[in-house]
C-alpha cells in the first residue's frame, strides 16, 4: 500500500457526522422490533427547529445585489465585513483586532481550522491535541504529516474545570510540541476550561514557544451563568502565538452559508490567506454579507435561544440520569452531550448503525473523538425539544436490547 493510500484510509469519513447515508448497513442484524418515533439526527443541530438569525437571507440578497464587489472580495474576505467583524469580536473577547492584519473570513470554521493548521504544521511537527476533542483535529494533523501528541482531559473527574492534564501538557511542550489545538467549550463534552486552566495554557505556551489554536465555536452559548475565559485575552501570551476560531454555524444556525473567521497572529493570518488562494479562493462572496447579522441579533434573541437549549439539556440529563449504567457530565456551554453507556454486545459503531435502523436516531460514535471512547456517543441537542427527549428515550431502550 502506498503512502497516499494509507493517508486516505486514516482520513476515513464513514462514521463522521452527516455521512451516515453512505454507510454499509448490510451486516446489521436487529434485536427486537423497530421503535417508532419522530426521526432525530443528533449528528448536527437542526436548523429547522432553531432557525438562522432573523434577516440572514435578506442580508444575503442585499449582498447579491451589490454585485461584483461582493462576489469578488480579497481572498481574506471583504474589507468592510472584516472591519465590522473585527470590531464585534474585539468587544466580545476583550482584545484588539486589526481588520486588515489580524482577521480572515473562511468557508466555515472547518475552513478556518484547515487553513490555520496548514499554515503552522510542517512535516514531522509535534501537535498536541486534547482527548476527547473535535473529530477532525487528529485527521488534520495526520493529513499535514504532523505527529499527534494526545493530552488527556478527564472530564468526569470534577465539574470545576475541564480536567485537562496540565502536567502532561507541560511534558509535551518540553518535548518539542510546536502547536496546541483545543476547542473551548470542548467538543464533544460541552465543558468549559476554567480561568486557571486557560491561564496555565497561556503561561506554558509562552514559556515553551508553542503556538495555540483555540476553537471557540460555541463560546456564545454559555449555560447557568458560567464563566468563560478567552485565551487570546490572556496577558501572559504573545498575541502572535494565538489563533482564535469562531463562526455563526452553530448557535446562530447559519451553517448553510459556510462562514467562519479566524483572528489573531498576523503572520499566520497572512499564510492562511495564501493557502486560501489555492484551496477555494475565498469564503463565498455573497455569503460573507451574512456575517453582518452576527453579533447583531435582535434584542433578546440570543438570551432566549440559550434558555431554550438549556431547557432541552435539562430534560435530556433527567432521562440520562435515570438510565442504568449511563454516565454523563452536564453541558456547560454549547449543544453537545457525551454520555458513556454500559458495555454492549456490539461495538459502538455497530450500535450507532443499529440505532439508526431500529429507532430512527442518529448519534456520532465516541471513537470519532478518541479511540478509547468505545462506550460513548455524542449528540447535538439543538433539536426540536419534544422530539429530542423522545429520541433519547429510544436510545436508552435500544441500549437495553444490546447490553452485556
Amino acid at each position: 500500500m502506498d503512502l497516499l493510500e494509507e493517508k486516505f484510509l486514516k482520513l476515513g469519513a464513514e462514521h463522521a457526522p452527516g455521512q451516515e447515508g453512505r454507510q454499509n448497513m448490510s451486516e446489521i442484524k436487529l434485536r427486537g422490533e423497530k421503535i417508532p418515533g419522530t426521526p432525530v439526527d443528533f449528528s448536527h443541530g437542526d436548523v429547522d427547529a432553531f432557525q438562522p438569525i432573523p434577516g440572514s437571507l435578506d442580508v444575503f440578497n442585499e449582498g447579491v445585489h451589490l454585485g461584483g464587489k461582493q462576489a469578488y472580495t480579497e481572498y481574506r474576505g471583504s474589507q468592510i465585513i472584516r472591519e465590522d467583524a473585527a470590531r464585534k469580536l474585539a468587544h466580545f473577547t476583550g482584545t484588539s483586532i486589526d481588520a486588515d492584519r489580524n482577521l480572515i473570513i473562511t468557508p466555515g470554521t472547518q475552513g478556518a481550522l484547515f487553513l490555520a493548521m496548514g499554515s503552522i504544521i510542517a512535516r514531522g511537527d509535534k501537535v498536541a491535541i486534547v482527548v476527547p476533542d473535535y473529530f477532525a483535529n487528529r485527521k488534520l494533523v495526520e493529513f499535514f504529516d504532523g505527529e499527534v501528541v494526545p493530552i488527556q482531559m478527564d472530564y468526569f473527574q470534577t465539574n470545576r474545570c475541564a480536567g485537562l492534564d496540565l502536567t502532561q501538557l507541560e511534558d509535551a511542550f518540553k518535548d518539542g510540541v510546536k502547536l496546541f489545538l483545543f476547542s473551548n467549550p470542548n467538543n464533544p463534552t460541552g465543558v468549559i476550561y476554567s480561568s486557571d486552566e486557560i491561564s496555565e495554557i497561556a503561561k506554558l505556551a509562552n514559556r515553551y514557544g508553542v503556538t495555540v489554536i483555540a476553537d471557540e465555536l460555541y463560546s456564545r452559548q454559555i449555560f447557568d451563568g458560567n464563566t468563560y475565559t478567552h485565551l487570546c485575552a490572556e496577558s501572559d501570551i504573545d498575541p502572535e502565538q494565538v489563533i482564535t476560531i469562531m463562526g455563526p454555524s452553530k448557535t446562530e444556525s447559519q451553517s448553510g452559508y459556510r462562514l467562519g473567521v479566524a483572528f489573531g497572529s498576523s503572520k499566520i493570518i497572512n499564510r492562511m490567506e495564501k493557502l486560501q488562494a489555492i484551496v477555494s479562493l475565498r469564503a463565498g462572496g455573497y455569503s460573507q454579507a451574512v456575517l453582518k447579522t452576527w453579533f447583531a441579533e435582535p434584542e433578546g434573541w440570543m438570551t432566549k435561544r440559550i434558555a431554550q437549549h438549556q431547557a432541552i439539556r435539562d430534560d435530556l440529563l433527567s432521562k440520562l440520569h435515570t438510565a442504568e449504567g449511563f454516565h454523563v457530565r452536564a453541558t456547560e456551554a454549547g449543544s453537545y452531550l457525551f454520555p458513556s453507556i454500559p458495555e454492549l454486545e456490539v461495538t459502538i459503531e455497530e450500535f450507532v448503525k443499529i440505532l439508526r435502523l431500529q429507532a430512527d436516531v442518529i448519534v456520532t460514535p465516541g471513537t470519532e473523538f478518541g479511540s478509547q471512547f468505545v462506550n460513548s456517543f455524542r449528540i447535538n441537542f439543538s433539536q426540536d425539544h419534544q422530539a429530542a427527549v423522545a429520541a433519547m428515550e429510544r436510545v436508552i431502550q435500544v441500549v437495553e436490547f444490546y447490553r452485556k
Copy 2:
C-alpha cells in the same frame, strides 16, 4: 529559514488576480499624466456587466427555504443536485456519470482542483503541468510537495492546435510523471486543444499509467464554431484515470456562489470527499441549489452570451493588432487574451502596478502563468464592452510611455 517559511514564500499571492488591493505601491514612479477613463479590472470577469444566469438568486432562496436538508448535505453534495448535474454533464461530454460514485460538488472549481490534487499527489511525485497554464497549478504541486515537470505549449506556433509539445510530454511520462494537469481551453491563452492533441494525451496517459486532470472551466464558451474535444470521452483512456473539472463561475457568472464540480474516477472522487470533510465540510449547502440553473439557462441565453463575448474579443484584437510590438493569438474559447508586449524599461510586475495607478486598469502579469512570460499579461475580457475597448487603448498608451 524553515521549510514552512519557504513553502509559504513560494505561495506568494501578491500578484494573484483580485489581490491587487494588498500590493505595496510605494516604490512606483509614473511617467506622464494619469490617463482618464472608466476603471476596468481585467483580473476577472465583471459579473455586473454579465450577470449570473437569470433566476440564480431565486433558486438560492428556494434552497434556504428547504431548510436543514439543504444546509447539511453529504460532504460530496446533495444527492438530488448531484443526480441533476451528472445527467447534464454526461450529456454535455458524451460520457456516463454515476451521480453516486463519480461526481462531487465543490467550493468553486478552485476547490475541485485543490481536492483533486491533494487526492493524487504524494510527496515527491512528479506532476506535469503546461506552461503557460492557470497560475495556481504550480503552487498546488509545490504545496503538496510534488515536483513540477513543465511541458511547453507553443501557442504562437500555429492556430490549428494548442501547440503542446507532445514529445516533451511523452518524455516526462516515460520519466515517471504520475499526474498531468491541463486547462482546456487553456488559461491564460484561450486556445483549444485539437482533437489530435487530446487523443494523443489519452493514448500517452494510458500507455504510461498517468492520471490526468482536465480543467474544462471555460468549455461552454466556444467561439467561431470551433471543435472542442473532451478528454473524458476518449475511448483510449481508462475513465478511472481521469478527473474533469467544471463549474458555473465564469461564462455563467455564478462565482459569488462558490460552486464547482469534479467528475470521473470513483476512487479519486472518494478521496476528494474525505479531504473535503476536513477542508471545509462541503460546498455551501444553500449555494448547491444554484447548480440547478446550470445547463438549464433560458432559451438563447448562452448563444447570446457567447456572441457578446466574441464581439468584445474582436474589438480588442483589432486594437492589439495595430499596436506596435504587440503579439496575440485570438481566443478560441473562454474570456482570456494573453498578449505579449514590446520590451519595457520596467518589469512586468511594475508595469501592472503602473497601469493600475496611471490608467485605472488591472491586468495579471504573465509571470503568474510561467516564469518566462516576462513580456505578457492576461486579461479577462468579460467586461462592459465599451469600457474594455477604451481600457485596452489606455494599456497601449501606457506601454508607449515605458517602451525600451
